[in-house]
Every structure is written in C-alpha cells, then in structure tokens.
C-alpha cells in the first residue's frame, strides 16, 4: 500500500501515462485522502470512546439515546457526529486584538504536525503509506512541529492565559521529547534500523522477541517512553498547558468552533501516532504475541490496532484517574528522573548487547 506500489499499479492500468508526473501526484494524493479519513474517523471514534470510558469510570452512562426524536443514536453512537456538526456551524470568532494571520495559522500548524506523522505509521505488514528508511526519526521530527503551532496559538491570541499555556507547553513538550527520543534510541540500537517495518520485522517470533522484553533496560525504556508521550500529547496528568481549572483553556482559550476542533483532531491523531510508535517499537507491531497464532497477513492489522487501542485506553485511564501535576514538578520528573534513567538505559543496553548479544 505504499506510494510506489500505487504508482506502479496506476501505471499498469493506464499504460499511456506510465511514469508521468501526474500519476505520481495522484498516487500521492490517494493515500493522503485516505489518511485524512483515518484522522477524522480516529477522532470521531476516540472522542466517543473517551466519553464512554470516562462515563464507565465515573459511574455514569455517558452519551445515550433512545426512543423517537432528536437524539444521539443507539448508545449515543452519533454523539461525536452531533458534536462535529455543532462545531462546524458555530460562529467563527477571531479576537479583535489577536494577530490574525498567526491565529488562523496555528491550528493548521498543529494539525499538520499530527497529520504528516501518520504517513510513516505501519498498520500492518503491507499497510503503510511510506516506509522510509528513516521512518522513526521522521515521526519524531514531524511530531515536534506541533509545539510551534501551540506556541503560535498561545502568542497570537493576545490573552494572558493563552500565553501561559503556550509557554508551559513549549517547555513541557520540548523537555519530554528528550527522554522519549532517548528511549527510542534503544530500539534503534537493538534493531540497527530506522525503518518502521524493519523495526517490526526484527521482533518476529512471539512476544518474548519483542523489544520490551529484550532486556531489563528496554523494559524500563518502554515505560519512560510511554509516560513521556503522555506528556507530549498534553494529556492528564501532564495537561498543564490546557489546565482547565487553572488556565481556563490554556493555549486554546480564545479558539472556538472548527478552529478549536482542529486542536482536538490533532490531539487524538497525536495519541494514535505515539501509541502506534510504542506498539511498533516495543510491543512487536503487527506480530501476534504467540508465533503462528493468527499470524497470517490480514491479522497484522488486528494485532497492531489492538495494541494501539490498549495503549490509548491506558492513556484515557490516566486521564480520568489522576490529578494534574504542577509545572515545576513536571520539569523535575523530566530532567531529574527520566533523563538520567534514559541515559543509564542506553549505556546498559550497550553493555547488555556486548555481553549477551
């Protein structure tokens, strides 16, 4: 399902245009459209899931609908659709003193950061838009684009609360990228490749070949990575840039309607990406936990998705259980705990590979 195969396939059905630039553009646009669909559907499903998970944990029923009339469908399945319609029809407000250009640009910056990373995410053995040879590096690099958007949003709103949120998130996201990145270095050290598919192929042959169980250091690295990405996606207990009860809404205080929803679209897309990287990098990607058990081609998507869904559920579980940390405590954890442990991890994995590898 990569762009190359699509390009060849298109060339073979329209031989007259084989190899032309137009076909290449079409071959690129088709997966992009599909990806956009993935992002949109992902957000719709995840907002619904989050509502239901929250309701389950809080002893409520969550969105429900029954009987005749205007309601959110069976079990509230249409709740997110209703939300989306509401957001689309809302008035588009740009504050008078805001920096208009940057204000409009910010949600798109964040969205682009989340959207382009999905290109390199493998969903199955053959289901990946582009298997770069630097796939994991690309995801890390593009993932950090989002923080620019958040700072822009915080700055351009011309609101003190937004500025607080923007500055907090700049500090937070940039800090937490370091332990996350250092944990990923362990994957690269073990597999010797940056390609996402290459990393997954290395972990073939049952759950004890997964990188999380490769050695004690990588086991720790998985948890450091996961906690760091929870912070990177601004989820509770690290949601200080939004911090509803302190900063009102943080960097998106002044946003409304569809512009606001782009922040959420990208938050959920980001969650998908970071969980996919955790699943691919540490939990064997699309491999079955038991070799030969539903390990055929089509089941790859099932295994990958179930791992991603589980990790996303854990993130939601965090959100509805934990209080929020304070900004300096957050930084302490990052710089005084995670960073040293990550460095020791890298050292440890090096020695482990030398001795046992």
């Amino acid at each position: 399902m990569s762009v190359d195969t699509l390009f060849d396939f298109l060339g073979s059905i329209i031989p007259a245009m084989e190899g032309s630039g137009l076909l290449l553009v079409i071959a690129i646009l088709i997966p992009c459209l599909l990806l956009f669909l993935v992002v949109a559907v992902n957000a719709i499903v995840m907002v619904y899931a989050e509502r239901k998970v929250a309701a389950f944990m809080q002893d409520r029923v969550g969105p429900m609908g029954q009987g005749v009339g205007l309601h959110a469908g069976k079990w509230g399945l249409l709740q997110t659709v209703a939300d989306a319609l509401k957001l689309l029809t809302k008035e588009d407000i740009i504050p008078k003193n805001a920096d208009k250009l940057l204000f409009i640009l910010a949600p798109f910056m964040i969205f682009i950061g989340a959207f382009v990373t999905i290109v390199a995410v493998p969903f199955g053995e053959n289901v990946i838009v582009a298997d770069f040879n630097i796939g994991i590096f690309y995801i890390l690099a593009m993932g950090s684009l989002g923080v620019i958007g958040i700072i822009l949003a915080g700055w351009s709103s011309n609101n003190k609360w937004s500025l607080y949120g923007g500055m907090r998130s700049a500090a937070q996201i940039i800090s937490y990228e370091i332990p996350a990145g250092l944990s990923i270095i362990i994957i690269i050290m073990l597999t010797g490749t940056l390609s996402m598919q290459g990393i997954i192929q290395y972990q073939a042959g049952g759950m004890f070949n997964w990188i999380i169980f490769a050695n004690p250091f990588s086991f720790i690295a998985f948890f450091i990575y996961f906690i760091s990405v929870v912070a990177e996606t601004n989820r509770t207990p690290f949601d200080i840039p939004e911090a509803e009860s302190e900063l009102v809404g943080g960097f998106h205080t002044e946003y409304s309607g569809m512009r606001w929803s782009f922040f959420f679209l990208s938050e959920y897309a980001n969650m998908l990406v970071v969980c996919a990287v955790a699943a691919a990098g540490f939990l064997g990607g699309w491999h079955s936990p038991i070799p030969g058990y539903f390990d055929s081609n089509g089941w790859g998507i099932f295994w990958m998705m179930s791992k991603i869904v589980f990790l996303i559920f854990v993130m939601m579980w965090f959100r509805w259980t934990f209080p929020r940390l304070r900004v300096d405590q957050l930084m302490n954890i990052c710089w005084k705990v995670f960073l040293p442990i990550s460095l020791i991890n890298i050292f440890g994995v090096g020695i482990w590979t030398l001795v046992f590898g």
Partner: protein, 373 residues
C-alpha cells in the same frame, strides 16, 4: 541558586474563571508563574442581605439566609433561628432539635462532599468530583423528601421546622449511612492518598495557628492548623452536648501542619464524625411530637440584642440581631466564616506558583454568596 526576575504582570483571575468558586476576582501580580501579591476583589454577588432584613419580619428573613451560603442552606437557617429563639427565649420541642441536628449534619456532609470534590477538580482530578456528587445527590434526595426543595430549603422556622420528617425517612437515612461509610475509604484511595494529589497539596499554603487566629479564621480551616475549636463542643448550642463525636484537627499528616492537604483531610474526617452524630441522632430521636407545637403566633422579640453563633460547614457563623420590640428587626448582621477565610488568602498565597494559588483557594472552601451577602 540565583533567581531570575522579569517584569511583573498583573493578571485577573476571575470574575469568570472555572476555579474561583463563584464570582470572585483575584488581582494577581505575577512574575512568570510565581505570584508575588494577590488581592481578592469581592462584591460581585452583593445583594444587600443585611439591609433587606431591616424591612422584613423575622420569619421572612429565613429564605434569605438560605441564599447566603447556598451550599449549606440548612446550616444557615439553623444559625438564624437559633439566634432569634435565643432572643425570644423560646424553647423548642426535643423532636425539633433532633430533626434540626440531623438536617444540619446531613448538610455538613453534603457541603463537605462538594468542597472535597471540587477541590479534586481544582487539582485536575475529575472522577472523585463525580463520585462525591453522586453521593451528595442522595442527601439532596432526602432533603427533597422532607421539604420539597433540593438547594434552598427554608426548612427551619423560628420555634420549629416547616415539615415533620416524612414516613420512612429514618430508614432511608440509615440505608444511606450504611452505603456511604465505605465510600469514604474509596475517596481516600482514589484521591486523598494519591501521590500526585499529595505532591500538589502537602506543604503548600501553610496557615500557622497564630495567623489563623489573628485573622479570625474558623471552622475546618482553623482546625486544620491544629486548633481544637468547634462551636458544637466549645460553645454548644441546640442538643449537641448529647452526642459523642470528636473534634478533628489537622496533624500535618503528609507535610506541614496547616497545609492544603490538612485542610482537605480535616473535612474528610469531619464527614466521618457527622456520620457518627447522625447515627446517634437518628436512633435517639423521639418518635412522636408535633414540630409545629412551639411556633409563636407572632414573632416579636423583646427589646434588646443578641449575638449567637453556630458551626456551619464553613466555620463560625454569627448572627447579631437587634430588636426594638417590633416584628421587624432593627439590624441583622451576619458574620461570615468564608469572608475571614478569604481574607487570609493574601497571606497564604504570596510566593507560590499559579497552580498553587488555585489549590490554596480551593482548600479554603469559600462560598461567594456568603462573602458578599
């Protein structure tokens, strides 16, 4: 370690802000995240309660007391009627006293549950808030069962209460208590002993005993600083001397004595004590008796004045009433416990960070309706 100072910025927290617990404005001087000065600006909810009282008969004042501390309306009713009865030297039947204590203690649980839950919300924990509101709902159901109202009751009258307890109330109350007591442990597991919650509240906003006393802070906020002072014990009113309960004080369990965690935990302990009082009161209450028996035909206290105080969930609620012998009070003054709690905020919050200010404000459990009156 050197400290970098930047330009100071004045930030308005409120009047519209999710964590100011009402319409409160805090003028905050900040240097980045650190707060150097904090000035509460109040009065957005001022409704001339005290002036209104000078134009109404004594019983017409009661619904207004509901609206002062709208989260503990029963306790406010209680405070006012106790003051008027003391002024009139009126003796109420024993059953009425029991009903009043039951209602006041149920109200204390309801009010503390809201305070604790919203405090969790201030810190960022959503789920405990909904758990506590779920249980508070059952108390409100019981109030509704008794007097038809869920928030503003106008239940306690001078000389009695508006309605007798309905059939099945005692059983419902016991059922609730049996259900509720284990829930307290669940709250503790979920929120009180959560590591992040302790990190956010322990050692934050320490209120020393002498400062608390000099500002006139009362109620759970004072007890959290280690002062054993509860009007139900120290200046007993109604029939509180009949019950066996402890006055809970803070002990600096997770940090310094008088920090936010102590203020939170004292409320949690008080909920347990209220359950204890309720069990005794429900068991001892006389089965029959007319709650309207002692209602005076006309409330016309003799010439004179009275200052009477009661222990509401927020602390020491005082009513000063001056009478000239007519059916209309000459002057009613309410001493608000939340007002004194708010006035100590400037002392507590200086030097802490933005997030701590929210956490300190939440731990004081203020109700703006009572502060502005």
């Amino acid at each position: 370690m050197g400290v970098v100072h930047g330009e100071e910025m004045v930030l308005n927290i409120g009047p519209q802000h999710p964590s100011t617990h009402g319409v409160l404005r805090l003028k905050v001087k900040t240097d980045g995240e650190i707060i150097s000065e904090i000035t509460p600006v109040i009065g957005y909810l001022h409704r001339c309660f005290e002036k209104h009282c000078e134009n109404m008969t004594y019983d017409q004042v009661i619904p207004f007391t509901d609206r002062c501390d709208y989260l503990a309306a029963m306790a406010n009713n209680f405070g006012y009627v106790v003051a008027v009865e003391e002024l009139m030297e009126l003796k109420v039947p024993e059953k009425v006293e029991y009903i009043r204590v039951i209602m006041a203690e149920l109200q204390r649980i309801a009010s503390h549950l809201l305070a604790l839950g919203v405090y969790g919300l201030d810190i960022g924990a959503f789920t405990p808030f909904l758990f506590m509101l779920r249980d508070r709902e059952r108390i409100l159901d019981m109030f509704e069962m008794t007097c038809g109202a869920r928030l503003l009751y106008n239940y306690m009258w001078v000389g009695g209460v508006s309605h007798d307890l309905p059939k099945g109330f005692v059983e419902t109350a016991f059922q609730f208590l049996d259900y509720f007591e284990p829930q307290i442990e669940e709250y503790n597991k979920l929120l009180t002993y959560n590591k992040i919650f302790i990190e956010r509240t322990a050692d934050i906003g320490v209120l020393p005993q002498d400062v608390a006393i000099s500002y006139g802070v009362s109620g759970p906020n004072l007890r959290a600083s280690g002062v054993k002072w509860d009007l139900r014990r120290n200046d007993t009113y109604s029939i509180y001397e009949k019950f066996d309960f402890d006055v809970c004080i803070g002990d600096g369990g997770q940090g310094t004595l008088g920090d936010c965690w102590d203020r939170y935990y004292v409320r949690m302990l008080e909920v347990k004590e209220s359950v204890k009082i309720l069990r005794q009161a429900l068991a001892q209450m006389p089965k029959d008796g007319d709650v309207h028996q002692a209602l005076p035909k006309k409330i016309r206290p003799p010439k004179g004045s009275i200052y009477s105080r009661t222990e509401t969930p927020r602390g020491d609620l005082g009513f000063y009433i001056e009478s000239d012998g007519s059916p209309i009070p000459t002057r009613v003054k309410m001493r608000s416990p939340a007002f004194t709690a708010l006035s100590v905020l400037g002392e507590l919050a200086g030097g802490w960070m933005m997030s701590d200010v929210i956490s300190i404000l939440g731990s004081l459990d203020i109700v703006l309706g009572e502060i502005d009156r």
